[in-house]
Subunit: 358 residues, 2 copies
């Protein structure tokens, strides 16, 4: 169901959030600040978002009774991760406005659909070939002289990927070892840098794109995002314009995170996430309107806020034990610390982030 009128939601309206991790937590806090209530659906016990929202429905994402409870209590529903079961999204969508729309969610869940949609929208992506089995992989590798093999679904933080530097494929390679198929092989991109654009589209179609941040990944996990990015002005403008193109093509409402490769000559979209994005956390500290408030403004039918930036900054993810000694971050008067309220730090787990203003 899309909004039947253009009327923005009044204060004390209720926002449903599917997923209770750190992104849900920061969305719930932004909602509260704007005077909205929030209800989080998440199977985990005392997840990060439940600590700052009005109510936590502790149930599976596809539990029909829980979904009924959620839509009955909410005026609009959103989500904090792209692997919301499509069946759940459809149940919600039939009852209440769901933003970003289910169509965008569906496209983002399948790398093949995603790449095809981007191409159809006139957006440059790395060459790709759908791979269903061993023989298909073999011929695809020959065509690209190597490539990155990825599961079409459920990959994140570098999981479900394997790089082939050449077309050589051992006869005993186990495609199933990478995860559940089907797969996609993407041509290896010799990129200079990775950056991303956080952009938003309002119900009225207005678009606002933050300037790109330069991103550094290690072991497939985002470590830092820096602004200004150091990208040439032409690249910055092209990336913003490509992001707007994507939002239009998807008839999108809410915040999107678009990841790019910059090869020096051109920019290619790697993927997009239909949600607030880790590489956009700096916007809350360095811009007039942060991405979390921007998303809440968009999905409640309000106008977008200014994406103007007032400070240079670097956002550093705190992974695992990096968040154990917080005093070292708080000792820096220009470092803004955000912790996610997770009970224990585990290797590879995102525990918080620091934004150093410069």
């Amino acid at each position: 169901m899309t909004a039947s009128s253009n009327k923005p939601l009044p204060p004390n309206s209720t926002i449903g959030i599917i997923g209770g991790g750190q992104l849900g937590r920061m969305l719930a806090s932004a909602a509260a600040r704007l005077g909205f209530k929030s209800i989080v659906l998440e199977p985990g016990h005392e997840p990060p978002a439940a600590q700052v929202c009005n109510r936590h429905i502790e149930a599976a994402y596809d539990d029909p009774a829980a979904l009924d409870e959620l839509v009955a209590a909410c005026d609009v529903v959103t989500y904090e991760f792209e692997n919301v079961p499509m069946a759940a999204a459809r149940i919600v969508e039939d009852a209440k406005p769901l933003y970003p729309p289910a169509g965008a969610l569906e496209v983002s869940q399948d790398r093949l659909m995603e790449k095809r949609s981007l191409r159809e929208a006139g957006i440059a992506v790395a060459d790709f070939i759908a791979v269903d089995e061993f023989d298909g992989l073999k011929s695809a590798l020959l065509e690209f002289g190597g490539g990155v093999l990825k599961t079409r679904r459920f990959g994140y933080d570098g999981k479900g990927q394997k790089v082939f530097q050449s077309a050589d494929l051992p006869d005993d390679f186990d495609l199933g070892g990478l995860g559940q198929g089907p797969f996609i092989l993407e041509r290896l991109i010799d990129f200079d840098s990775e950056f991303s654009v956080i952009a938003a589209r309002a119900v009225d179609g207005t678009i606002a794109a933050y300037e790109p941040s330069m991103n550094v990944h290690e072991d497939g996990i985002l470590r830092t995002s820096t602004v200004p990015s150091g990208l040439a002005l032409g690249v910055v403008e092209e990336a913003r314009s490509v992001s707007a193109q994507l939002l239009e093509a998807l008839d999108y409402v809410g915040v999107v995170g678009v990841e790019f490769f910059c090869t020096g000559e051109e920019i290619l979209v790697n993927e997009f996430a239909p949600r607030v994005h880790n590489s956009g956390h700096w916007t809350r500290e360095a811009c007039v309107t942060g991405q979390f408030e921007q998303h809440i403004r968009a999905i409640t039918g309000h106008k977008l806020g200014s994406v103007a930036r007032h400070s240079d900054c670097e956002m550093i993810n705190l992974i695992g034990s990096q968040a154990d000694d917080v005093a070292r971050y708080l000792d820096d008067p220009h470092a803004l610390l955000t912790l996610y309220g997770k009970a224990e730090s585990r290797a590879g787990r995102k525990m918080g982030h620091v934004t150093r203003l410069r």
Copy 2:
């Protein structure tokens, strides 16, 4: 009980907040962001702070069982309003660190003690005379040729005050009509402007004072706070230094709001509030570290954040029905809206605020 060591509190420690209004709400949100949990003690049902904290103890501020429950569950306790019953403050203080300290709280609850303490600390205040009864008022008015009569306790937002432009006192004047005595008469100050300084002191004694904001009151209620204040640099520096003097004198920990009169020739302290302050809301939008985070940093034993300001701004309180149509604020991309989650707007009730960045 003061902190037995200088060790700052680790993540997931719990902060008790006495009072569940908008200040408690913004404190709880700031605590969550830094990875702390919060428990709010407040007799009201579903008050603003309860919507964003980990737990709400619904009980009177002086309920001994509730206070026991609070201190047992918390690592440090603070408060959002200055009329916390002293008996409650003492119970808390005997069990856990209470910041700001009970001594500062006690002084702030009595205008006579407050004025005397300020004077003892070498801080200029308006002349004052303690008034206990009608005859005392008569002679005090004669001495000052008029004055502002105030209840010593429980005055706020201009309540419990009466201005006398001359020493004329009608024989049928009812002192009791102003509120509960005893009283204080203050000499009328012919001030040019009212401004305030938000300052903080850490457990290690470090002090940071934000620059002053120029404040406009109507009907005794703060309407706007503006920075830069337009005050002369010498006045700005003196006001910061006076605020630091006050924090030292009170052996303070946490954020304080100090209200000043500027007469053109000199600055006088009107009063201070031992808590985060309405006239400091702009710090969250326009400074590196906002007053709420600053208070949480201070009371958890961490270092203070930077009070540097990145934007000019004006904070406008939304009183009563001014908050009914929020779209008009959200339509301005440079206006940052904060609503307090109050169920209904009533005349004179603070519903939210807008900070317009310029």
